[in-house]
Symmetry: C2
Subunit: 362 residues, 2 copies
């Protein structure tokens, strides 16, 4: 499936057993390959990917990062640069991100800034990365004061989604990925939301046909939005449904305590409730969304960080302007927009929905 971005256009390839097919890698640059991955993914897949890439790159190097959102910071990024320079990589080196969203974001920002930009390929191995973070060119690391605060737009040359990698994905990570799948319906395609309601058990059971459809439709929607607004002037912000509350949850609990998808799930319920409160959508949307997320085994509330802490964290959100927090809110079924909400309305939503224990999830 193409992501049409002019001279930065690229293909998303979705299927099973893709890595061993030379067509998957056709047309990508030669030169060196640097595979960036983490300890967990490396144990399952690093050797297989290295073997596949060895057929077209003169050197295949790798760096294995610690696992988890808590490591999406400076020091980890610095380790990637040390590896690139320490092994004499040059401007023609292609960086491959093998892993989930954290690996993709760190490797992508490293590729964006190493020698001011080198080629980059996403090889996402989690559902969340396959349906969301590997597509669209956003890369970043976290800052203690906020999620994804330091980064770059750097489009990959290709995204290779091999369904086989989902077989080893822990169930908690699968559920977190489903949060981003569920996200697309309310903002862009209500029929897809209803498809998710019907097929949620098949998705949780990892039935290949269901997963394939979910990944494909998610990528289609995301590619369409990104193609129309690569650098988030406005439209692209609809993809941030649930993320303003969600990022506050992640930063407030400490990065990695809740998975990103878990925080987005709680955040979407709160955003839908805020939408209902502001009269933008009916409260039945919040109800159906909350019910579906519950069936996914995802949180449907936020942790009890306190309303003022939420507000302070959300004022640092990248969409905030001059202290006004701007939320992506559903405007009926399958449509969303960015809205400034009065603090009182936000406080009312937090009073009702931000009451979960301030603790890690199972």
């Amino acid at each position: 499936m193409p992501v049409p971005l002019g001279e930065r256009s690229y293909e998303i390839v979705i299927g099973a057993g893709l890595w061993d097919d030379p067509a998957t890698w056709q047309g990508l640059p030669a030169g060196d390959a640097m595979v960036v991955t983490n300890t967990v993914v490396a144990a399952h897949y690093l050797d297989r990917l290295r073997d596949a890439l060895a057929r077209r790159h003169r050197r295949v190097l790798d760096i294995v990062l610690p696992d988890g959102e808590a490591h999406k910071h400076w020091a980890t990024l610095g380790a990637v640069f040390d590896a690139l320079l320490g092994s004499g990589c040059d401007r023609k080196t292609t960086v491959y991100a093998l892993g989930g969203g954290v690996v993709g974001d760190v490797a992508g920002f490293a590729a964006a800034s190493f020698m001011r930009g080198v080629p980059f390929v996403q090889v996402p191995t989690t559902l969340l990365a396959q349906v969301d973070s590997s597509v669209g060119g956003k890369t970043a690391i976290n800052h203690p004061l906020g999620k994804n605060m330091i980064g770059a737009f750097h489009q990959p040359l290709r995204v290779v989604c091999d369904l086989g990698t989902l077989t080893t994905l822990p169930q908690r990570e699968l559920r977190a990925g489903l949060a981003e799948v569920v996200k697309y319906g309310p903002i862009a395609d209500w029929l897809f939301f209803e498809w998710c309601e019907v097929n949620i058990d098949a998705l949780l059971a990892r039935e290949p046909a269901a997963l394939t459809h979910a990944i494909r439709r998610s990528c289609e929607i995301k590619a369409d939005v990104v193609a129309r607004d690569e650098r988030e002037s406005d439209l692209r912000a609809i993809l941030n449904f649930g993320h303003t509350f969600g990022h506050a949850i992640e930063a407030g609990l400490g990065f990695g305590v809740w998975l990103h998808g878990e925080a987005v799930a709680g955040g979407m319920v709160m955003a839908a409730a805020l939408s209902a409160r502001l009269g933008l959508a009916g409260d039945d949307l919040r109800e159906r969304l909350q019910a579906l997320l519950a069936r996914c085994g995802l949180p449907t509330r936020g942790p009890a960080l306190g309303a003022e802490r939420y507000l302070a964290l959300m004022r640092l959100d990248k969409k905030a302007v001059a202290g006004d927090i701007r939320f992506t809110l559903p405007e009926g079924r399958g449509r969303a927009g960015v809205h400034v909400a009065p603090d009182d309305a936000v406080r009312a939503v937090l009073a009702r929905y931000a009451d979960a224990p301030v603790a890690a999830l199972a």
Copy 2:
């Protein structure tokens, strides 16, 4: 003077007493201003720039970095992000770089990556920054293994070159800036080189008319090259004359031991000698260049780091591909191109010209 880069086009404004003229800042975004500067420049100019900017920004913030190339690294960049986030800056914040090349490169990379990119204005206060580093959108920090290895292309919205700031510039820094002025003649405009030969004493005496012409012509040449090749596919690399040897000198001695312009001066002599050895230009070009740099009070040799150390450092240069070092070399008078040189030829040049003491300059 315009730098025509499509939707990223911008103006270079050159003159005396510009800051107090509201026209200088006209059309720039409102929102907050974050002035990034260093201890030395702050003492002279921070209050004056803050006063000028206070007329159009609702908040004017600043962060004062330590002075010098030795601080162009991670930790300094991190301090800029801490300041931006700590004071609640948002996506509409404009970053102003007040200082020389180091401040511009660090502030520019911070502006490129803070929230994936915020507006940026260059206010260069050194000759080197006014004639070279503030124009063209290259931003970066150093890595222990190499100069400018981590960075981004991020064009400023405007470059404001106030000649008044040169009155407080130490003579050593003025000389270092002249190295980049002298650079433009051999690569792009031999008449300008001859003008420099005639006017070198006026430039060293800081005569305003001579400085104005030197800055204007340097910016014209750079803007023209950058407009034709923003991301250095090829043509833009001519601006790196002297920089392959020069970056090796800086990294080999430790960043900041020689100033960038001093290292480039030594590097240009070696590159011109290499050019003569390869038959690309006559050795008279090297002779005249060396004589002019000597009149500037600049080094005309490299420090005795040892040929193998030079070669190892230069293999990490960003222009190197697959271990081949690529040099920007004069091809006669006022023309240059990128060439791979055999190691033996490079060794011969190093044996002859890399014999200066491995030590700081006065």
